[in-house]
Symmetry: C2
Subunit: 300 residues, 2 copies
């Protein structure tokens, strides 16, 4: 059972761990001990709680990415500045741990000075995506709570831009006046497509598009499933209108979960752009494996 | 102390009442018994709790506007359809009450069929604003949680458009990841102006503008007061970009509280448009007074 190394994706709300062998994933575990729930002293016990059964013999390398490396995390891994390679073995932050059965390294995030932008965790997915697509030049889109559009050239992150799209969807669908008309999780492709079209055509009207969902619910029998799907389309369409310089006439690879990548692929396809998709989890593990491999090599 | 009539502004979160005489306001009271806190049976006791001391002699007319007339309110006053006059005495909804010391009429809201839009309460402010500016042709802007731009011609509401701007500000500044960088209520005019300029110049980038506030807080020492003020400017600037057909080259009167109207006046002034402002409260009371006067006249 003892793994060669352990991969850790540690975000704001979740902790995910994988026991890794030469053949790939041997075991995995998840908890909701995200960064936001932990004090500094709580990180090591939270990690050990998930990986305890995998530990024996000499220290096992643990490679982690995500908000665990932020100032409010376990140990700050200062941002590296783009343009640069997404991940560099020499730049991993070595974190002192009490338990002698592990060593821990955290991947630093990336920052862009102007316009100011930051990422933590996505740099590892990007490194992994590049490992899966060697020599890729073009655009990675990492949709999610904070969607990122990332320009890659010669193996480096040249520039990137983050959109608050996913968080806006969550706030608007769950906490705004619109929530009253969105009590269904049934998906409506046509309503999503209409939202994308409206958002792309008149992105500046986003706040009016939003209230119109409420008004149509009150006076035009807009169904809860259509309202929720159109909201998603409106926000993604507005993002695509702004991100056009990133995707127009270029090769785009989506890196994300199947559900959210599917929505972006559908919206971009409406604009005549066919995309590929890489699962975010595969990219995270491939990125951390690069770092683990580099460490192993350096130790030999 | 007995008033000639009682004015009531009853919204989602607040109940405001004024005892009215020929000279104007004699007394006023407020509670947080808004529509959202009340079951149907709770409205009459909530109202009486505030106006009890004013009641004596024959029934006193009570004129109300706002969400109290919605389907989830005390008694539905069905929307009237624009284009139409903002308020019509004959269209007030008479509400049965148990207490014989009052009679109650609720002003109906307005709806627009295409694009779908609705208002409740603002129609009364508009009627009042027209009473204070007889013969006005132009645009009323009613900034707030759900800002409204209203085209007036020949005493009628011709069309209107609602923006979720104020609600987005509340959600983003209090419940999103941005809240961490907005722990100050100190105002920063320069940051607000920059937000307006950014929002107007690239409104489609709103979700990226928003994340940039977070990134600048992390890596560029953006202060909490500047972040919060710029957020306000970004959202108002984005609204103004979309509402340009309403305000460009026309006469605009702002109807709202001093604080929020001041922000819109400042933002529009940057665009070379000087506006007038009418206090929302004055307009509400003037609108309800029109209705009360019409009823009194009809009764004579």
């Amino acid at each position: 059972m003892r793994p060669d190394w352990i991969a850790v994706d540690w975000g704001t709300t979740h902790l995910r761990v994988w026991a890794m062998g030469p053949e790939g994933i041997r075991a995995e575990a998840t908890s909701d001990n995200g960064m936001s729930r932990l004090s500094r002293a709580g990180f090591e016990p939270a990690l050990l709680g998930l990986i305890e059964l995998w530990l024996s013999g000499p220290p096992i390398p643990v490679l982690a990415c995500g908000m665990v490396g932020s100032r409010q995390g376990w140990h700050e891994a200062p941002y590296r500045t783009v343009p640069c390679k997404p991940l560099l073995a020499g730049a991993l932050a070595a974190v002192p741990v009490k338990d002698k059965r592990i060593t821990l390294q955290i991947a630093p995030g990336l920052k862009q000075v102007r316009p100011a932008d930051v990422m933590r965790g996505e740099e590892t997915q990007i490194a992994g995506a590049l490992a899966l697509h060697p020599g890729f030049d073009g655009i990675f889109c990492l949709p999610g709570t904070h969607s990122k559009w990332v320009q890659i050239s010669a193996g480096e992150v040249v520039s990137f831009q983050t959109y608050l799209t996913g968080e806006m969807f969550a706030l608007l669908s769950q906490q705004s006046v619109l929530r009253h008309g969105m009590t269904s999780e049934v998906w409506d492709d046509d309503a999503f497509d209409q939202g994308v079209a409206d958002g792309m055509a008149r992105p500046e009207r986003i706040a009016a598009h939003l209230f119109r969902l409420r008004a149509e619910g009150l006076i035009a029998d807009l169904s809860p499933s259509a309202a929720r799907s159109r909201l998603s389309g409106l926000l993604i369409g507005t993002e695509l209108a702004a991100a056009k310089p990133y995707w127009l006439g270029t090769r785009v690879i989506l890196v994300g979960s199947a559900a959210i990548s599917g929505l972006y692929a559908r919206a971009l396809s409406q604009q005549g752009l066919e995309t590929e998709t890489l699962p975010a989890k595969d990219c995270t593990i491939a990125g951390l494996a690069l770092a683990a491999g580099a460490l192993t090599k350096a130790a030999e």
